[in-house]
């Protein structure tokens, strides 16, 4: 479904991606984690064709990405700037469906169906700004669902909602994946989330980002917010991913004081020309 080889990208003199290699099989749900500012969004934008990487290759369904592939949808982090406030929720969801063919009636029906799938059947006639943040993100997911892409990219989709909503939305993604079977690449900086949601967790180093870990998640299905999170494998995987994100080799003891102090969130990347 997705093949990325030696992907590099530089913003001017600043190298964000330093040779990323990653293959995602059809139907997989891969979570990409990495320290903040490491180049996660850059990677996603290169896959989505919104950004032309300076080096390397991205193949979606065997074809090199030049513009946004037809069979791809993106759910952005900032839902308030991704849904159009001048359109009703139903219009937002059905706007992209025109290129999928079908008449107005069938498009409207598809929009209603997608809204039902995300648990918002009553919101169709409302405007996005009449909904809470979590509901707006559901609408953005419904829009992607109605579009029926083969590959769905999500860039920190739950970064700006509260903890409870976040758990609901994580379960929504799992349910969507189960019912539609689409391939999903979900970017997050939340280690627990990556392990809870993913079939696989890919860890990026701080920039220039490379893949420093690729772990298969074998947790009992269906996943459950309480039971899964106290499962010994979950606890173990989470520690493993946490170590990798903090730049330690696996097996090293976590929470060594020096390592904490050098956590990438606080340390400015060397020579980063922040725009």
């Amino acid at each position: 479904m997705l093949e990325i080889s030696d992907l590099t990208h530089s913003y001017g003199a600043y190298q964000a991606l330093g040779g990323v290699n990653l293959t995602v099989a059809e139907g997989e749900l891969v979570c990409v984690v990495g320290p903040s500012g490491c180049g996660k969004s850059t990677l996603l934008r290169s896959i989505g064709g919104l950004l032309r990487p300076t080096g390397g290759r991205v193949l979606v369904q065997g074809r090199p990405v030049e513009k946004v592939p037809d069979d791809l949808a993106i759910v952005f982090q900032d839902y308030s700037r991704s849904l159009f406030p001048w359109m009703t929720v139903a219009d937002n969801v059905s706007l992209p469906l025109r290129r999928r063919g079908g008449d107005r009636r069938s498009r409207a029906a598809a929009a209603v169906e997608a809204l039902e799938q995300v648990g918002l059947p009553a919101a169709a006639g409302k405007y996005p700004w009449e909904l809470s943040g979590g509901m707006q993100q559901r609408v953005a997911i419904a829009r992607a669902l109605a579009y029926k892409p083969a590959l769905m990219l999500m860039d920190e989709p739950f970064g700006s909602v509260d903890a409870q909503t976040r758990e609901d939305l994580e379960d929504l993604v799992l349910q969507v994946r189960r019912s539609s079977g689409m391939t999903i690449v979900l970017i997050t900086h939340d280690i627990d989330e990556s392990v809870y949601v993913g079939d696989r967790v890919v860890v990026l180093s701080k920039s220039p980002a490379t893949v420093v870990g690729d772990l298969r998640v074998e947790l009992p299905e269906p996943r459950d917010q309480i039971a899964t999170r106290e499962h010994p494998d979950f606890v173990h995987l989470r520690a493993e991913v946490g170590r990798l994100v903090r730049g330690m080799r696996s097996g090293e003891p976590a929470a060594a004081p020096e390592a904490e102090a050098a956590s990438p969130e606080q340390e400015p990347a060397p020579a980063a020309p922040k725009a």
Partner: protein
């Protein structure tokens, strides 16, 4: 509380001012400030005492008021359409914008009334002059605001269009125009007032009909009350146009106020 005060103010402020005006002008016997009752009587007699079949408009009104209004509406609407189209086109094209920016900024810096004498040498007096003056006066603020609005459409809106393969036409009509509409409306609001000013000025300078022209005639006859009827008429006209425009804007931009409130 505030709404109650402003509502009551709407009810009483006008009658109070009118009465005060009436009393003081009568007391002062001011020649140049006739009492409102005189002005209103003249207003009625001159413009609105016609037959019911002509919606009470007198021949005088048909001769002066209707041409003014017609030119105002046609000039304003035509100029706005063209200016919005040009502004959005320029705003969406970096090249066009760079090429035309200096020119636009030069022209919008020229006070529009200054050009009326020039236009007059080109068009002569009459409707073409009024239309040219109104179009010129209205165009720049609408053009500049549309340009701005179309230029600074949120990048994520455009990326969303790109991701979901929204066609160019629908991108323009369903995304860029609505996203730019708050700015466009800001330009339109300015342009309503400008259109009125340009209408009157061009009628002062080169016309044989219209409210402005009628006022000049009244002035030459030292007919003070009639001059005042023109002032009152224009005041009412400006007020009504502005109110109608705000209504329309409020209707079209409901989403904008709603979205802003939750930010």
């Amino acid at each position: 509380m505030k709404t109650i005060v402003s509502r009551i103010a709407w009810l009483w402020i006008l009658p109070v001012v009118l009465v005060a005006w009436e009393v003081s002008t009568r007391a002062a016997q001011a020649v140049y400030f006739p009492p409102p009752s005189v002005i209103l009587a003249r207003l009625h007699e001159l413009w609105f005492s016609g037959p019911a079949a002509h919606v009470f408009l007198t021949d005088e009104a048909a001769h002066h008021l209707l041409p003014s209004l017609g030119r105002l509406v046609v000039g304003w609407a035509g100029a706005c359409l063209v200016a919005i189209a040009a502004g959005v086109a320029l705003g969406r094209s970096a090249v066009l914008c760079d090429v035309f920016s200096p020119l636009i900024h030069f022209f919008r810096s020229v006070p529009p009334p200054l050009l009326i004498p020039i236009f007059m040498t080109m068009t002569g007096i009459g409707t073409p002059l009024q239309l040219t003056a109104i179009v010129f006066g209205v165009s720049w603020p609408v053009l500049l605001n549309s340009l701005d609005g179309a230029r600074y459409v949120d990048r994520q809106y455009l990326e969303t269009c790109e991701v979901f393969g929204i066609s160019r036409f629908r991108r323009l009509t369903r995304v860029i125009l609505p996203a730019a509409s708050p700015k466009i409306f800001a330009g339109l609001r300015i342009s309503v007032a400008l259109a009125l000013i340009m209408m009157i000025l061009s009628e002062f300078i080169g016309s044989t009909e219209g409210i402005g022209y009628r006022m000049l005639v009244a002035q030459s006859e030292l007919d003070v009350p009639t001059m005042w009827t023109a002032i009152v008429l224009l005041g009412i006209l400006g007020f009504v146009l502005n109110a109608a425009f705000l209504r329309f804007e409020r209707h079209v931009l409901t989403w904008h106020r709603g979205a802003r409130k939750t930010d």
